[in-house]
Symmetry: D2
């Protein structure tokens, strides 16, 4: 039964907490770190944390804490991980692992040297639909996998720091592509080496330095192709779809906008506001249970079970590092316009 | 933290156990009753129950047990409930509550006299999609509700006892209609009185006495209509769809066959067998996470939280009794061909 | 090559003309009748009619005309048909044939006495999807048909006369139910006798005398059930869906709101207005080719080919009469609350 | 009213004939050329052609013929076009125009020199859904177009010649990519110059020299991206989907596998065989009206109206040439692994 410290009290921090404390969970968050006193206090109150602090190291070092959850902007992941290593606390970090593979590799080496449990919180390979689809692929229902595509597009992130290259480390390739790359890699096989990447990227709409739209192809050593389509310019909500082609079958997954719940409302009945939708009248497509359907529940179950059994979870820092290496190749390719090798 | 006795180790008993012990749950099943030694032992092993027995009362009376879960054929619900009353153990029973309203009323009176927590396990008003849709209806997004339809059809039940009128108490009206009636009633408003019922029923295909196909209309005192469509003759899997119409909007829910996960397989890749589907090649529509998507998780969370707080869960024996009364009227109507009053 | 007179220049008159003159048709409308000079002239100009008139009989009697198309309000169908009989002109009339079976029967007898081609323009049994589905049913792909449901609901008609019982002859049962009844009857078999009808109807929303919402069951002599769901209170556009269940399969048809064309628009790009949709921003579901997809093209092809070959079209006044007889029973049932016999 | 000669009596020849003679058309095929006497005779009989021949030039030169339709393998398009030029007969040719841009350019120059009507039969920019979507794009409902994707994949062609590089000129890039490229180009704007292409292609499954799977990106001078996904290795039927993203909206089109007609059949009812599907039991997704829904009707209407009015149709040899030029760049890119310029 892990006792958790949460670093960061923003969007994903609260989502994680909803999942960790959700349903009939045994697990608890004992400490929370946030920059601002008010945020830390509020989070502690909402999620029944005994302790809160505005000092990151204090949360990590807290004697009751044995597992740290990093939910901070991308540029702070490494700093936080190194503190966990120093205090020998098990660590799980949100995506992307690093802003690039160099950072990611340092983090990987640090946790391995420290000998601590390290989990890479890639929730989208834990969604119920992914798990079911992946099991079918493993069972051979699709034959040999030829191509796996993952698409994540929405109208753009919610926090200022995403738009700052220094803090974010990249645009939609890093922010969304990390999901897509790991989904495709999992369908193709995590034991198959990614070889090279071709990527187009552009800043088509937003007044930013980073890319707001990109498409990439990742070639694996067995000839299979992983494809990612990512954008911060999509209109219509959040589009999260995967497709897999094999010699004996195909799989189509729609994770968000068409899942079997459809609502029309004139908006005259009430001030109804649909989650994450761009409109709150007309035809709306809400999700039933975001925390479960986006994979958070199955992800934390896996990580916490691993923690208790002293095993590695399904996704570790190594996976996060591979994803960063693939995305680094994508960034190079977008610049050089060449297929760029994945350097692992 | 309830300590549960499970009565019955069949289809729904195992489904319930998967949910109760699923994810990171605090809850445990301490005793299981099953007629056959082998089944009881197997269930106890699979779900880590300390104790098993082939005597129903022994499981209920077991000193560690404080909450009993009835997962037995319909004709045994009352017997089991009365034993729970005798031993003053909180009780939750699967659907339908009774084989008819007379039985259900006796059960309701018994638990009220005994003063024990009583939960009616109608999972389909706990599905994530239902909960989201219901919240929208409560918020007024659909205006005044005019009509709510629920459809549950499949190719027929899996166990022999369903086909025996004495044990089952009815055909698809009782077996499936109980879900549909409570779904529609919840959308229309559980405080609105159901007034009368018109029902068509027939035995179109199966070699049985009970009905294998029925359609019914339930008129509520405010003029709203609840509709149920139930059948054991449907081909194509399990069809679970709801629709709601209000003056300001509409909701369409597809709970099973079209939820955003679609697979084609030639079947040559592997002996893949899809759950509950009638075929295992061609286009298949598996569910991501049945235990969650069919409402079991949210249902037990509600019941167990209610248990711990000494409150009533969302669905009690009273609701089960109302459902039975509506279905009794449906059965009378199918015979008399008249709109029959709901006798509460 | 029929030369057509169009009676009425309203909504359906123009739809029919679009179909008749559409694509590379050989057919032409030579005369048009409309009450108001301006409407007649405008229609004549738009559809290249040589002749227009504000006298109904003049259009029918016009020497070049050999086939009359009735697109007038329901109360004028009989008058127009009798004039066609008088002038021995082939006649096709829009749905419903009459305001009731008595009227319909008189019209049927009149055209039979006059010995003229008579077509009942039930376009929805000519939609490409219906034709394909019906062929599958005929081929036995669904086994024995047990149940056929048709649903047509929208937010209410566009012209004043629909709201006047004298002119319209009824509410949504007559206006929309006529489609649904003929669709279900066609799937079940036009040679199978409809026996009795149970119908619920109410005026739930609109300030009118006629019903704005109804649900009906039609029992056929072989035990099959036809179901109709009709409403003028639906919000969300036009909902046109059919379902068929047989012993060996099932068919689901969505004719309007989910046909594979989905659009999201913020509305900031342009004053885009979607057809028949209740909103013009957010998620919209336009149809590709309404005139074809609603069956008009295949319907007129059948009627005109029949005309040229001196044969009867697929749908004649006899079918319109049967539909009226079923709907009369539905109206009686809504009043008496009994299953009412279909009187043919 | 064009009098048509059909060259070729294979798959597409018959499809075209079904459309040309379909519904109430004025148009007729007066002559047909096929290599084999039997095929020519059979086609002539089926489609009421007065004349048939096994000499290509004879059909073209036939005095009654004024419009030639080329439905021959790719390597014969140029030969046939040159004969049309020689005899000054208007010509329409199926896709792709040439096996490469060099051939296409010679054909374009020949018809321009001859001054004859030339139509490029790209049916997929004439589908009802495309036309509706395109109109919305033109109206500005999507704002500025950023990306347009078209996907066409199926399990592989039906005739031997497709597998022979000499006759076919290429694999799935040429065969299917020509559709996708013109769809994307039409959404982005046919006046916007395509600049360069990046393409991945591989032979993953079939025992052939040509590619059986490819993905390409086409960059336009305004920064918009056209994407094509083509394959002969897809399992599950024919997958035909388009997507468009603009600054103010998005469009999703499903042309084939999910269009609102869904059927489940055990196959026990009858020897039902679904068109083009890979299976004939289980869940099937037939199309209502292929000839209309794939655009043939609207395409020939446009071409024949243009012919009668002495104007150019919407799609001319110039468009076919641009498509070939883009695909040539794709083939070069697949080899060089570089973004290759489009040479126009
Ligand atoms: N797994 C997913 O699906 C998913 C979804 C969203 C975000 N994320 C990841 O989660 C991380 C946080 O993103 P978010 O959406 O929660 O962002 P957010 O802006 O909502 O929250 C960020 C948190 O970090 C704190 N913070 C910001 N700058 C800081 C600084 N300089 N020093 C200390 N604390 C600081 C903020 O106060 C806040 O508590 C990112 O790495 C992001 O990529 C993952
Ligand atoms: N909530 C739901 O969605 C849902 C789904 C399925 C079943 N159910 C309900 O669950 C109950 C059990 O159905 P099931 O599908 O699990 O059936 P099942 O046949 O799979 O299991 C029934 C269990 O009861 C035992 N049993 C049977 N006859 C018995 C007898 N005479 N004495 C003692 N034990 C006996 C069996 O050994 C078995 O353990 C029924 O009331 C049914 O309506 C509910
Ligand atoms: N097949 C279908 O799907 C379909 C669809 C819509 C309407 N309809 C049927 O078409 C008929 C006309 O409906 P509509 O929607 O076109 O209505 P509408 O109001 O749009 O047009 C009616 C036409 O009849 C004329 N008219 C009205 N009252 C008249 C009068 N007293 N005397 C002479 N002319 C008169 C109007 O001027 C107009 O030209 C109705 O019977 C309706 O049920 C069929
Ligand atoms: N627009 C579309 O969607 C579409 C669809 C399919 C095919 N096509 C195109 O149509 C053309 C024909 O394809 P198809 O599918 O009809 O092929 P097919 O093999 O079915 O028919 C080809 C026809 O050409 C004839 N033929 C073959 N080799 C010949 C030769 N050497 N000399 C003379 N005649 C010969 C055959 O007898 C047959 O009549 C191709 O260019 C193909 O790309 C277009």
């Amino acid at each position: 039964m892990p006792k958790i410290a949460m670093l960061g009290s923003g969007f994903i921090g609260r989502f994680y907490a909803d999942s960790i404390l959700g349903q009939r969970s045994r697990d608890s968050i004992v400490s929370v770190y946030s920059r601002r006193k008010e945020s830390a206090e509020k989070f502690a109150k909402d999620y029944h944390c005994k302790h809160w602090t505005t000092e990151m190291e204090e949360a990590i070092a807290h004697p009751e804490v044995d597992l740290v959850c990093i939910s901070l902007p991308n540029n702070l992941h490494e700093i936080a991980v190194l503190l966990c290593c120093k205090h020998k606390k098990a660590v799980m970090t949100t995506k992307p692992l690093g802003r690039n593979a160099t950072e990611a590799r340092r983090m990987l080496e640090a946790v391995e040297d420290a000998g601590i449990l390290n989990a890479y919180l890639e929730d989208l390979v834990y969604t119920p639909k992914f798990l079911k689809a992946h099991a079918s692929v493993q069972n051979g229902a699709l034959g040999r996998i030829l191509w796996a595509k993952s698409r994540e597009t929405h109208p753009g992130p919610h926090s200022e720091w995403f738009w700052d290259l220094e803090q974010a480390g990249g645009g939609c390739i890093l922010d969304l592509g990390c999901h897509c790359v790991e989904i495709a890699r999992s369908f193709i096989g995590k034991d198959i080496r990614p070889v090279e990447v071709m990527c187009w990227a552009d800043t088509q709409v937003k007044p930013i330095e980073a890319e707001d739209h990109a498409i990439g192809l990742v070639k694996y050593e067995n000839g299979a192709i992983g494809q990612f389509e990512v954008s911060w310019t999509f209109r219509g909500g959040m589009d999260l779809r995967d497709e897999v082609m094999g010699t004996e079958g195909t799989i189509w997954i729609n994770n968000f906008l068409r899942t079997g719940l459809e609502m029309f409302t004139t908006g005259k009945g009430a001030d109804y506001v649909a989650e994450k939708a761009e409109s709150n009248t007309g035809w709306l497509f809400p999700m039933g249970d975001e925390v479960n359907d986006l994979g958070y529940n199955h992800m934390f179950t896996d990580v916490f079970n691993a923690f208790e059994k002293g095993k590695a979870p399904k996704e570790t820092f190594y996976d996060g590092y591979v994803v960063n290496a693939i995305l680094d190749a994508a960034y190079r390719s977008a610049r050089t316009k060449l297929w760029e090798p994945v350097q692992l």
